[in-house]
């Protein structure tokens, strides 16, 4: 049976809760976007409940500890039904008392789960590296990204701790939301289509500081000068900086 949830983490957790409540263990959590109607399977639409979700989180924390419980959130951000399914299976196993299952790397679901964790973690690390701020006239630093996975929630604290004394926005154009730090609070923001256009073309909403072009240029010069031509190795270069990230990297434009 398919449990159709709203795509949020709380929604997925609610699926786990309700599967236990109804003793329907062989369900598949899925979102509308991914769901293809199947004549042999029933569907159940799950209404997200924060309360139920938090009970599942506390339950996981009790069984496997806080850090591993958070792995479920990190793997969830991989945004793929197969991973949601593997994570669901593992959560059920843990609640049934099989609490060491996450280290059984001979198990397919565990490998799927740990593989997703590794990829999400790599993307999170890449975003720490590849975010490039541009300064606007009002002093706001803003950056646009299109990460492979939904990793903004995993990097917000990092940027907050690092750039505490400047206000900034990191905007995920693929998922159409961003995080905004106003030097006091972290706020989730959503721009409308017009505003996004402005950010992309830096016209009215954000006008760039005079110095912005100057420093971008210096950075490009530095990038060129620090390269050693005799060691040229484009294959390695591309492995580290795949083409899909170039769009927002001034040194690659």
């Amino acid at each position: 049976m398919y449990y159709i949830f709203d795509g949020t983490y709380y929604g997925w957790l609610t699926c786990v809760f309700e599967a236990f409540e109804r003793k329907e263990f062989s369900i598949k959590p899925i979102t509308k976007e991914f769901h293809l109607p199947d004549i042999f399977a029933d569907d159940r639409v799950i209404t997200t409940s924060k309360e139920k979700a938090i009970r599942i989180i506390r339950g996981l924390e009790g069984h496997v500890g806080k850090n591993m419980a958070q792995d479920f959130y990190r793997a969830f951000l991989f945004e793929h039904p197969a991973v949601w399914q593997a994570a669901y299976y593992l959560a059920v196993q843990i609640f049934k008392g099989n609490k060491h299952i996450l280290s059984n790397f001979g198990n397919d679901a565990v490998m799927k789960f740990s593989d997703a964790l590794r990829k999400v973690s790599r993307e999170r690390h890449r975003m720490k590296a590849f975010v490039r701020f541009q300064q606007s006239t009002d002093g706001l630093y803003f950056a646009v990204v299109e990460p492979d996975f939904n990793v903004l929630p995993l990097i917000a604290a990092f940027f907050k701790n690092r750039y505490t004394d400047q206000s900034w926005i990191i905007y995920d154009l693929k998922r159409n939301y961003g995080i905004y730090w106003d030097k006091v609070n972290l706020i989730e923001v959503e721009l409308n289509a017009g505003e996004i256009g402005d950010v992309m073309h830096t016209s009215t909403l954000v006008s760039l500081d005079d110095q912005e072009e100057y420093y971008k240029n210096l950075w490009q010069q530095y990038f060129k000068s620090t390269n050693i031509e005799a060691r040229r190795n484009l294959k390695l270069h591309l492995k580290h900086v795949p083409r899909r990230y170039w769009k927002y990297l001034p040194e690659k434009n």
Partner: protein, 418 residues
């Protein structure tokens, strides 16, 4: 071109032969200002040569009173000279950092006037960043040989890492290229800073909020292929320096020919020894993370690393009596010695086998190089072989099947002599 841009061009170009770009190992926190250190380090970009760009790596100036043959900034070399002001370096660092271009600053310098005079300038920059800009990002500072202990001690209180380069792996090699220099002037400050680090560590156990002193430790660099040392000599020096001075890293930098009249040095056009450099790094890793002793990999009878295959595989082929290893029963320490299995997969194997004996199809999914590893291990379902394939044939099979990154370039290198 703007004057600052011109300086950046000259002084980044002159600094790039220092390969260290690590930004890891420090846990400096943001205290009411800007920046912190990510203890794992972050590479913000990669140059077209595939090297990490983590720090703004520049010289304060490329004016130098020394005339070392291997160095592009040597006194007698006809290159454009430039010098940053203290303010310029601070401005560049802060503006790059605030845009998340870099993880911090790597600051080195040619020696002008005297060692202390140079060190004092570097110190000025570092202090201005920390005290006036309230900058807590990463700083890697070169120790200037011959600078006074007081000056070095003060710098250590503000920076994350310090380094000083051996340049040539042996004293003899160094004397050939830089008669004015010796290894003693490198060992002295390495030793001094190491003792200070250890003393601070002891004290900070007793006092809670003790200031940090070079929290990311020290490193050094050796130039490879400019002078005739063999790999055994090079790694012996590295091994000793790791032990004597608690170094975090030794870097091996394949010599890239620059214009010079020294007939002993490889000339422009000669390819830098990149594969050899890679093999040295692999050896370095085996020593530091895989529990190998140097004499297992290199010794008086085996002085040069095999360029065609990596040093772990080479060691395994020379020690057939230790294989195959049963991954369902062997210690972690032995499993990481299997060619094609790294530390991450070894850890997975040791955890997973508690749930039942592991089969080949399970091992394959754990991210190991199965085609290499299969010659050296036994899984639950590995068929029993009558007699063991000779190591020569194993080597042949691996080289034949594998897409060795070394293969194509080695054939190129060989064909020069045909």
């Amino acid at each position: 071109m703007d004057r600052l841009e011109e300086k950046l061009k000259i002084l980044a170009d002159a600094a790039k032969y220092d390969v260290s770009c690590s930004s890891s190992g420090s846990k400096r926190k943001n205290i009411g200002g800007i920046g912190d250190a990510s203890s794992s380090g972050i590479c913000h970009s990669y140059t077209e040569d595939g090297r990490c760009v983590s720090l703004l790596k520049i010289l304060l100036t490329n004016h130098c009173i020394y005339d070392c043959a291997f160095c592009v900034s040597r006194k007698s070399n006809d290159v454009q000279r430039a010098a940053f002001t203290v303010e310029e370096v601070v401005k560049l660092t802060m503006n790059f950092y605030r845009r998340n271009y870099i993880e911090g600053l790597f600051l080195s310098s040619g020696i002008f006037k005297s060692a202390d005079y140079t060190m004092e300038r570097l110190l000025k920059i570092v202090k201005k960043l920390r005290l006036e800009e309230r900058y807590n990002g990463y700083i890697h500072l070169k120790t200037i040989p011959g600078a006074s202990d007081e000056m070095i001690r003060e710098a250590g209180l503000y920076v994350d890492r310090m380094s000083i380069n051996l340049e040539m792996p042996t004293e003899m090699g160094l004397k050939l290229m830089a008669p004015e220099k010796d290894h003693e002037s490198v060992k002295k400050p390495l030793n001094f800073i190491n003792q200070e680090i250890q003393a601070y560590k002891q004290e900070s156990k007793l006092i809670k909020h003790k200031p940090t002193f070079v929290p990311a430790g020290q490193s050094t660099q050796m130039v490879i292929g400019a002078t005739p040392e063999n790999d055994f000599e090079i790694m012996s020096v590295a091994d000793k320096f790791y032990k004597d001075y608690n170094l975090k890293r030794v870097y091996y930098s394949g010599y890239i020919p620059i214009q010079n009249d020294n007939s002993l040095l490889p000339q422009i056009g000669a390819k830098p020894p990149l594969i050899r450099e890679n093999r040295l790094y692999q050896t370095d890793w085996l020593l530091r993370f895989y529990g190998f002793k140097l004499d297992e990999i290199l010794n008086a009878n085996f002085k040069e690393l095999d360029l065609e295959i990596d040093p772990k595989l080479s060691w395994a082929l020379r020690n057939p009596h230790l294989f195959p290893i049963d991954i369902n029963t062997a210690d972690y320490k032995m499993i990481i010695r299997i060619p094609g299995i790294g530390r991450g997969s070894a850890l997975k194997i040791v955890q997973a086998r508690k749930f039942g004996r592991l089969h080949e199809y399970q091992i394959k999914k754990m991210g190991i190089a199965f085609n290499r590893a299969r010659h050296f291990m036994i899984c639950a379902d590995t068929p029993i072989q009558l007699g063991f394939a000779t190591m020569d044939s194993v080597r042949g099979q691996i080289l034949h099947n594998g897409a060795s990154k070394a293969k194509s370039s080695i054939t190129n290198q060989m064909s020069l002599f045909v």
